[in-house]
């Protein structure tokens, strides 16, 4: 463990990744301070104006909206759109800051749950073998045969919009990779002498799985999982782009980008006029995924037994 951490910190690429990740974690934790919520539901992005056009960075809150807050006696803790507003007057800055929390939520929950499911199915399938293995692997094949994006779209369309529905869809169609990997690893580890010895000694099956097999085979899975966190966030934002996913106005990075869709080319003659609608959300998404990928990539190199001597 220590060796791994040491290696991670010493490698330039992974170090950058770790720093980025720490920044994001800080943003997520301190979100209420950085972008104080203006209404009860903190994940609904406040509107700076009712305007359809995106407003440039630094624009002040429009008077109509200011009147509303004054009337309600609510304190206006900040009244400038630092990063500008997206289509419909949604404050981009707020959306991105609170979207960090959403991103972590999506990434961590979907990956951990699908990993657990995959581990469970993969390990019992590999360990007990025979017809249980056959059935479970066929079921895995069925799920694998689904075109992922289509399946996710269908599920979210049927279940309705909402962050939880998106996560369900991602989990339902995301566990198969883990199942296969762990199964493969266990299948080879099963023939190892220490396992045979444990069996000969009469150690119970689940103890063997838990204490011997899993710990020795789980690392590649963890590496895969960490890299998936980034791609889960990208997939979730792709779903938002396609029109299913988090509800409109929810603080989610994919939402912010989908707002930019029709403004990305700006006005003729002033191409890129609405650069802030794409750039800011884009940076957040890219850096977040980058962080996980940098760490994961190096981690994979570290754990690759064939490269053990090199790093």
């Amino acid at each position: 463990m220590n060796r791994i951490l040491r290696k991670l910190f010493s490698n330039a690429t992974s170090l950058i990744g770790i720093i980025l990740l720490i920044i994001f974690i800080a943003i997520a934790i301190f979100a209420p301070v950085i972008a104080p919520p203006l209404s009860e539901d903190r994940y609904i992005i406040p509107r700076m104006s009712w305007d359809i056009d995106p407003q440039p960075p630094g624009s002040p809150m429009s008077d109509d909206i200011r009147d509303i807050y004054n009337y309600m006696g609510a304190e206006i803790k900040y009244d400038r759109a630092i990063f500008g507003t997206a289509e419909g007057g949604y404050d981009i800055f707020y959306g991105l800051i609170w979207g960090t929390r959403t991103a972590f939520k999506i990434g961590l929950i979907t990956v951990s749950v699908s990993m657990l499911i995959g581990l469970f199915i993969g390990s019992i399938s590999a360990y007990f073998g025979k017809w249980l293995d056959e059935i479970l692997m066929r079921i895995t094949d069925i799920f694998l045969s689904f075109p992922f994006l289509v399946a996710a779209m269908v599920l979210t369309t049927v279940l309705g919009r909402g962050l939880d529905k998106v996560m369900i869809a991602l989990i339902v169609f995301g566990w198969m990779g883990y199942a296969r990997v762990i199964r493969g690893n266990i299948l080879s580890a099963k023939e190892e002498t220490y396992v045979m010895a444990a069996r000969a000694l009469g150690v119970k099956d689940n103890k063997i799985i838990w204490k011997h097999l899993l710990p020795n085979t789980i690392f590649p899975v963890l590496v895969e999982a960490s890299m998936s966190i980034g791609s889960m966030v990208v997939t979730a934002s792709a779903l938002s782009f396609l029109g299913v996913g988090a509800p409109v106005g929810y603080a989610d990075w994919g939402q912010m980008v989908s707002f930019a869709r029709n403004w990305i080319i700006g006005s003729p003659g002033r191409a890129g006029q609405y650069w802030y609608t794409v750039l800011y959300p884009g940076i957040f998404i890219v850096l977040f995924v980058l962080a996980w990928n940098l760490i994961g990539d190096t981690l994979r190199d570290i754990l690759d037994p064939r490269l053990r001597g090199e790093l």
Partner: protein, 345 residues
């Protein structure tokens, strides 16, 4: 070998049934009135509540789940895939119209993916851990982190909006005229580039190519990062092998060692994976097709999924699943053929 192939192929119908059953299940979660939404886009078409009942009856939206599934199976056996409300044509026509389009796009995308991915992967492995390796890896990772839709929109903007080089769609108007309506143009394969060449029509060939560049760029750039990593690790693996060490010891020059010996062997697993990549691409082509208005399967399926046109979604899933199963089989077979140590149980 033959029995292995047959056994694997026997799995195909099982998997197909499983896939379709699952999709059907999901759609059955909706009540008949919700599924009516596929056919009713405006409440004004339901002049009175009678119309609602008639529509539900007409499209069998009320059938209990097992009955609905069995009816659908019966039609499938007769190759009647039903009508696609979102494509406004029969599902069979919709698929046969769109499949070549997507196929053309995906096939052409594979070329830059393979060329660039492998080249960079080899390079990266050979210069393992020094600046070049790091740079390539980071570029690949960045490429992998940028969502397709942002990249696609930017490509559209730069290459069409500003430069005017690569327009969206599949063909320009004049080319469309000829391909769709001229009796002189024969569509043998429905892959326009190939057809144009077969008809000896170079301008159309170039026009089709011109419309392909931007989507190919968008579709391929994620995949080459993936291929790069696979190539790199496979190459690293191979470079450590004994016979490489022997070749070096024998004094063979480095260039030959890398390209003649290592690369050839390292690429074997890579090539087989490429096969699966083609099929994966078929599944992920939705966003690219949407942005560039490329009238293929992905775009249509995305729309169908959103409008609960389950007949279309199921048919696409069937197609895709079949390809996946067959593709997996081909990959496993090629592993076995190439590496005699692999035994097929």
């Amino acid at each position: 070998m033959l029995s292995y192939i047959i056994r694997r192929l026997l799995l195909l119908p099982v998997i197909l049934m499983g896939v379709t059953l699952l999709i059907f299940c999901v759609f059955s979660l909706l009540s008949p009135m919700e599924r009516l939404a596929t056919y009713v886009h405006d409440p004004n078409t339901l002049k009175n509540s009678q119309a609602m009942g008639r529509l539900i009856e007409k499209y069998h939206l009320n059938d209990p789940f097992p009955l609905g599934y069995i009816n659908w199976l019966k039609r499938i056996i007769n190759f009647d895939l039903g009508w696609s409300q979102t494509a406004n044509q029969s599902v069979k026509d919709a698929i046969s119209q769109r499949f070549p389009v997507t196929l053309e796009l995906v096939l052409y995308s594979i070329i830059p993916v393979i060329l660039v991915g492998i080249w960079l992967g080899v390079l990266s492995a050979v210069h393992h851990n020094d600046m070049l390796d790091q740079t390539i890896r980071v570029t690949a990772i960045i490429g992998w982190s940028l969502p397709t839709f942002i990249f696609g929109l930017l490509v559209l903007f730069i290459f069409y909006g500003i430069l005017g080089w690569f327009p969206p769609g599949r063909l320009s108007s004049w080319a469309q005229d000829i391909v769709y309506t001229s009796s002189n143009f024969h569509s043998y394969t429905h892959l326009i580039t190939i057809d144009a060449l077969l008809n000896g029509n170079i301008p159309i060939f170039l026009d089709a190519l011109r419309h392909l560049v931007a989507p190919i760029l968008t579709l391929s750039y994620i995949s080459w990062a993936f291929l790069l990593r696979i190539t790199r690790s496979s190459m690293l693996d191979t470079l450590r092998k004994d016979y490489i060490r022997t070749a070096r010891a024998k004094g063979v020059d480095e260039h030959t060692v890398i390209h003649l010996h290592a690369q050839r062997n390292a690429l074997i697993p890579v090539m087989t994976i490429s096969g699966m990549m083609i099929i994966e691409m078929l599944g992920g082509v939705m966003i690219t097709e949407t942005i560039f208005t490329y009238p293929g399967l992905g775009f249509w399926t995305a729309t169908a999924a959103q409008q609960l046109d389950y007949g279309s979604v199921i048919s696409f899933a069937l197609l895709f699943s079949s390809l996946m199963v067959i593709g997996n089989l081909v990959v496993d077979l090629s592993y076995a053929l190439i590496d005699p140590r692999v035994r097929l149980e």
